[in-house]
């Protein structure tokens, strides 16, 4: 377990809904609902946080969810209880998943790989637990390849990474580097906020 990252997100937990649950969540809700409407079968949801994404899940699904922060999951419990379906939430580090190989039909992430310390290793870990032919659906913000946005995001990352996420990750490249087949990248705001659909090759 990465104690530094766990401590960082435990510390952020009490203020997380105020920071992330307002404008950003309202802005992104319709896109998340569309992405999560693909949920089928045995599902892993990565980095549940305080459960802000739960209201955008389709009803009646059976979801295993993990987060590195116990305090985040404590705060998520009320939303887990309200969900019309089943969510089993556990404290777990993506670098050290306790699930068997090829266990899940699908994996979903939501603003997760801006924060995973070693993203390619984390993605390889997801690949291990995902069935061959299974899909990885991601809602992520990444860095931009366009100036001046690239410089701005590199500068802001110097501040943001101390409190929470990096803002300049190359997540699409990381997904490919981890061995996934990238099927679709849908830019929602510039080339920064996007959904990514990938497949674990058979």
């Amino acid at each position: 377990m990465d104690k530094y990252t766990q401590k960082k997100w435990d510390k952020a937990a009490p203020h997380f809904d105020m920071m992330a649950g307002g404008g950003a969540e309202k802005r992104w809700k319709p896109f998340k609902e569309t992405l999560f409407s693909n949920m089928e079968g045995n599902i892993l949801f990565l980095a549940l946080g305080t459960g802000l994404d739960i209201p955008t899940f389709p009803k009646g699904k059976n979801i295993s969810a993990i987060d590195i922060s116990p305090r985040m999951l404590e705060l998520a419990q009320a939303r887990i209880d309200e969900y019309d379906g089943s969510i089993t939430a556990e404290v777990m580090d993506v670098h050290d998943l306790k699930y068997a190989d090829r266990y899940f039909d699908q994996v979903f992430t939501s603003c997760t790989f801006c924060s995973v310390p070693n993203p390619i290793e984390g993605l390889k870990s997801l690949k291990r637990v995902l069935k061959p032919g299974g899909d990885l659906y991601m809602f992520e913000h990444t860095g931009s390849k366009y100036y001046p946005f690239k410089v701005m995001m590199d500068l802001m990352t110097q501040l943001s990474k101390r409190l929470g996420p990096d803002m300049n990750r190359t997540t699409v490249a990381n997904v490919a580097a981890a061995g996934f087949e990238v099927l679709e990248v849908n830019n929602l705001f510039l080339d920064v906020v996007k959904t990514i659909k990938c497949r674990n090759p058979k």
């Binding site: 404008g23 001046p148 701005m152 497949r199």
Partner: protein, 125 residues
């Protein structure tokens, strides 16, 4: 751009406010007779800093990256323009705020145009 009226209005208000604030501060900060290039660079950096900091309260209402990047661009451009004018003409803080506010509105329009070109499905495997 996001077509929901709350976010359209939010984008306009946020960039108007950031631009006006940066313009006001730049007009106070830069004096007539300064080296123009130096004034532009300093005001641009100050504007980006202000844009980056004002992002935090504005993001609570209007979004995350959708607020941060326009705010920083607005800060950069407003600071540069007001900083440049400030070296040539004496300018009241209110004039600086007005010019900065206009720069903010222009910046968000530019962002909307760029976004319309970049958004959508870009690659298939």
């Amino acid at each position: 751009m996001d077509h929901r009226i709350f976010f359209v209005a939010g984008d306009l208000i946020a960039n108007l406010l950031v631009g006006a604030l940066v313009g006001l501060v730049s007009a106070i900060f830069v004096g007539v007779g300064w080296n123009m290039l130096l004034a532009m660079i300093l005001a641009m950096m100050l504007g980006m800093l202000i844009g980056g900091l004002t992002f935090f309260p504005l993001s609570l209402l209007f979004g995350a990256m959708e607020v941060m990047l326009p705010a920083m661009l607005t800060g950069m451009i407003s600071g540069m323009v007001v900083g440049m004018r400030g070296t040539m003409h004496s300018m009241t803080p209110y004039e600086g705020a007005a010019i900065g506010g206009i720069c903010g509105l222009v910046c968000i329009l530019i962002i909307w145009v760029i976004n319309s070109r970049l958004r959508g499905v870009k690659s298939h495997g």
